[in-house]
């Protein structure tokens, strides 16, 4: 018998219980889902109530996205029941989920980069006029209305692929909001967002909750979880280790339930900066939005780039890395002037970039962990063009252990790994290479607490070894704690550089906020 089917004589929620507690909008009863070699969800029970924001937490690979894919009809459970208003249902495919009022923001983006923002928001249910023709006016007006509700200023005609990752994420969210769903699922919606956007998203979610929408919320940023969710369910190794219903939400308690142990120090910062200047930028500008960037980077130093979403930090990274051509300024490495015509030049000179968008720019989904980790170091591994596979094997195994990457990564191609494990592998690539200057663009985006601390420790290890780091992070606490100095970026320019120790969280928020025009998207015009 397939799960679901006809209404059973006795619902698992039981008659007497139903008297006291409201019937959940959605309920999972003993839902299991196995992938080859892993039981990703093991008899999971969860109740999602209308008018409640439900946090789903746990380490990378614990099965959060698996649960979400099941509820969104992307896959079928192996066993167990899904109840909708107390009645068993089968969610046969994503279309069925949508008809049941479920809207999902998946961890891996599902927008079409070549389409406009408006088209993406209404993809699959375009408003049509009387003759069955797409009503473009309505598409753009309605999507503009949704974006306005999110208080974001993105033109609805813009091609989605040309937006920053954060803006694309907002479009994803807008798409779910536009469906006017009764159940909204958000799998790490804030991974690429800055504090401002997160605040606005939370405001919107609270509004929707008050309207009676059920919300399932996944995030690895626990400070944010503490602020927004009404109840939490914690998974470990596919099982529920802490069910919802308990009252007070306490971060350190959540962490120990997630990881299975107490964590003493969230930011184990080591100061390894020296006086020796390794890398220097003077008056850089590009056509992609970098207007005036000057800084020095010392051996063993972590220089944080602070700024709001769209302030141009990713563009600075691209300019430094030779992706975008410089229209002004110069770059010096070890005192010598260098010119990078392409990424290859930068990498050869000893630079490395961990990109923000790991799915499109980072991973080789056809390789296992080892192939991904060594991809930037093939020259060093090869002798007369022949690879030293033993050295590759050993080096990558050590890194997989150090970074606590799932051991499955050794055997399976990385498309089978959870998002967090994938991110660790992208970082591991540059730890394996002998880069001297590393640009880390949102390196802890979407990875769990344990893994974040592992990344911080690796940053320490790198700086101890005399490497220098440019750190871009939307997590202000992380940026403040892990940087030696912080450069404040606005409109593609570095306004000033201060010691991280002299800056408080609020200072950073205030300093990076735009004093002229908050929502302006074109820095050149703003300065003109």
């Amino acid at each position: 018998m397939p799960p679901g089917g006809e209404t059973p004589p006795f619902g698992p929620s039981g008659e007497n219980k139903a008297m006291t507690a409201p019937i959940p909008l959605w309920e999972f009863v003993d839902v299991s889902k196995a992938y080859p070699g892993v039981l990703a969800n093991d008899r999971v029970c969860i109740k999602l109530l209308a008018g409640s924001i439900h946090g789903l937490l746990g380490e990378n690979g614990c099965g959060k996205s698996t649960l979400i894919k099941t509820l969104s009809g992307v896959q079928q459970p192996d066993s167990g029941q899904i109840l909708f208003n107390g009645q068993p249902v089968v969610i046969s495919d994503p279309q069925a989920a949508r008809q049941l009022g479920i809207a999902t923001v998946f961890q891996e983006f599902s927008i079409v980069p070549t389409l406009s923002v408006g088209e993406n928001i209404f993809l699959g249910n375009m408003p049509r006029s009387r003759f069955g023709v797409i009503d473009w006016k309505k598409v753009h007006a309605d999507s503009a209305a949704v974006l306005a509700e999110l208080e974001v200023d993105i033109p609805t005609e813009a091609i989605t692929g040309s937006l920053s990752v954060g803006e694309q994420q907002l479009v994803e969210i807008a798409k779910a909001v536009a469906m006017d769903a009764r159940m909204i699922i958000l799998d790490e919606p804030t991974a690429a967002l800055g504090e401002d956007e997160i605040e606005r998203l939370h405001g919107l979610l609270r509004k929707m909750r008050d309207r009676g929408v059920a919300i399932l919320y996944v995030s690895h940023r626990l400070d944010e979880v503490e602020r927004i969710v009404d109840e939490v369910t914690i998974l470990r190794n596919g099982r529920v280790v802490r069910a919802s219903g308990e009252t007070k939400i306490n971060v350190s308690e959540i962490v120990s339930a997630m990881v299975g142990e107490d964590i003493a120090e969230h930011y184990p910062k080591e100061r390894n900066a020296t006086q020796e200047v390794v890398f220097e930028a003077r008056g850089l500008a590009t056509n992609a939005g970098v207007t005036d960037v000057s800084f020095t980077l010392h051996r063993g130093e972590v220089l944080g780039l602070g700024g709001v979403l769209g302030s141009g930090r990713t563009e600075i990274a691209r300019a430094l890395f030779g992706t975008d051509d410089l229209t002004a300024g110069e770059v010096r490495l070890n005192g010598r002037k260098v010119k990078f015509r392409a990424e290859t030049d930068a990498i050869r000179a000893g630079l490395a970039l961990v990109p923000e968008n790991r799915k499109f720019d980072g991973l080789f989904f056809n390789f296992r962990a080892s192939g991904n980790i060594t991809a930037a170091s093939l020259g060093g591994l090869a002798r007369f063009g022949v690879l030293d596979l033993k050295a590759e094997e050993k080096g990558t195994r050590d890194l997989i252990r150090d970074l606590e990457i799932s051991s499955q990564a050794e055997e399976k191609t990385v498309n089978f790994l959870s998002g967090g494990n994938q991110q660790k592998i992208v970082i591991a690539r540059w730890l394996f290479s002998d880069a001297q200057v590393l640009i880390l663009d949102e390196p802890t985006q979407g990875i769990d607490i344990g893994a974040k601390i592992a990344v911080y420790k690796l940053i320490n290890k790198l700086t101890r070894a005399g490497k220098s780091i440019i750190l871009i992070s939307s997590d202000h606490d992380e940026l403040l704690a892990m940087s030696d100095r912080i450069a404040i970026v606005q409109h593609g320019a570095i306004k000033r550089t201060v010691n991280a120790a002299e800056l408080s969280h609020d200072d950073l928020v205030r300093a990076s906020a735009d004093p002229i025009d908050h929502n302006h998207r074109h820095p050149e015009e703003a300065l003109a």
Partner: protein, 333 residues
């Protein structure tokens, strides 16, 4: 990567064995030593060319030009031997160089001119055959050189020479793909070109290189083709490019790039040739052969695309009983 003989070989190998069994059961001549040795001769040309086609596919490209290039190269070889009186020892290396150079040209246009390889090589498919017709007023050239035929028909310790070519070139290709920097870079470019750029791989150079390899292997195939018939003709090699691509696909290479095992292509080529042989032995007309080839390609890609569904189906069939138990246990509790 790393494992030359991995699980990717199981499917193509099973397909080959099954097809061979069917043919052996439906005909009485299949297992004749004469037929088997004929089979190895037949497979050699397409299998060698398929090495190049597969490597291009690994880098997410496609090479449609090889059939026409074979015709062109046999005509150039014929020209050299018959009318220019070049010695074989000079003409053959020259043909290999010309093949690689034509591949380089296509590779440069594709990689640096940013024209999709489908278009570049489709243009070449048409143009090369046209070029082949400009030699000798478009007529075939026969009786090239008595020393040419043994290259194809010769034997060493009783085994046909093409067998050794296959072992050599497939060995070399498997080594390159699994143990060298170039091989890894080809898989990386096919897997995710954007990521390859950001890891410092020279994507265009790698793409161009795959076409050089393809051109070279096509030239090897052309030499064997000329040797087999001791002639050159602008009509040689028709649909050979499709057979070579089919060999790659039946061998499990993903047309999206990045995935596949080069040795599986050999099995793919054998499967196709065995099917053709079976149809020949059963006196099927060539129209039927083409239809069957089309169906095989569809099946091979289909099995690849439906892999998840097939394994889910298997799982459902085999797990039916325990699942029912859990459900009833639950209700009892």
């Amino acid at each position: 990567m790393r494992r030359v003989f991995d699980t990717q070989l199981i499917g193509p190998f099973a397909a080959m064995v099954i097809v061979a069994l069917i043919v052996a059961l439906t005909t009485d001549r299949f297992l004749n030593p004469g037929n088997l040795s004929n089979l190895s001769l037949q497979v050699s040309i397409v299998a060698l060319i398929a090495i190049g086609s597969t490597i291009v596919i690994f880098a997410a490209g496609i090479d449609l030009s090889s059939g026409s290039m074979v015709a062109l190269l046999t005509m150039i070889l014929a020209q050299m031997l018959k009318f220019m009186d070049l010695p074989l020892a000079l003409a053959i290396p020259l043909i290999l160089i010309i093949g690689a150079s034509l591949g380089l040209l296509l590779g440069l246009i594709t990689a640096y001119g940013r024209i999709p390889s489908f278009i570049t090589t489709l243009a070449a498919l048409i143009a090369f055959r046209g070029l082949a017709l400009t030699f000798n007023n478009g007529s075939p050239i026969f009786s090239l050189d008595p020393a040419l035929e043994p290259i194809f028909y010769g034997k060493l310790i009783g085994i046909p020479l093409p067998f050794f070519y296959l072992v050599f070139f497939y060995g070399l290709a498997a080594f390159t793909m699994n143990f060298t920097k170039l091989g890894r870079e080809i898989y990386a470019v096919g897997g995710n070109p954007a990521a390859a750029v950001l890891t410092g791989i020279n994507v265009r150079k790698v793409q161009a290189t795959t076409f050089v390899i393809a051109g070279f292997m096509t030239a090897v195939g052309a030499v064997l083709m000329a040797a087999r018939l001791n002639s050159g003709s602008p009509n040689y090699g028709q649909t050979l490019e499709l057979q070579a691509i089919a060999a790659a696909v039946v061998g499990g290479a993903s047309l999206a790039g990045g995935r596949g095992n080069i040795l599986a292509t050999l099995m793919g080529a054998m499967t196709i040739v065995i099917v053709q042989n079976g149809l020949n032995l059963n006196a099927a007309p060539s129209s039927v052969q083409n239809i069957v080839l089309g169906v095989i390609i569809l099946l091979a890609v289909g099995i690849d695309m439906w892999r998840a569904e097939i394994s889910a189906l298997m799982a459902r069939i085999f797990r039916r009983t325990p699942k029912a138990q859990t459900a009833s246990e639950k209700k009892a509790a």
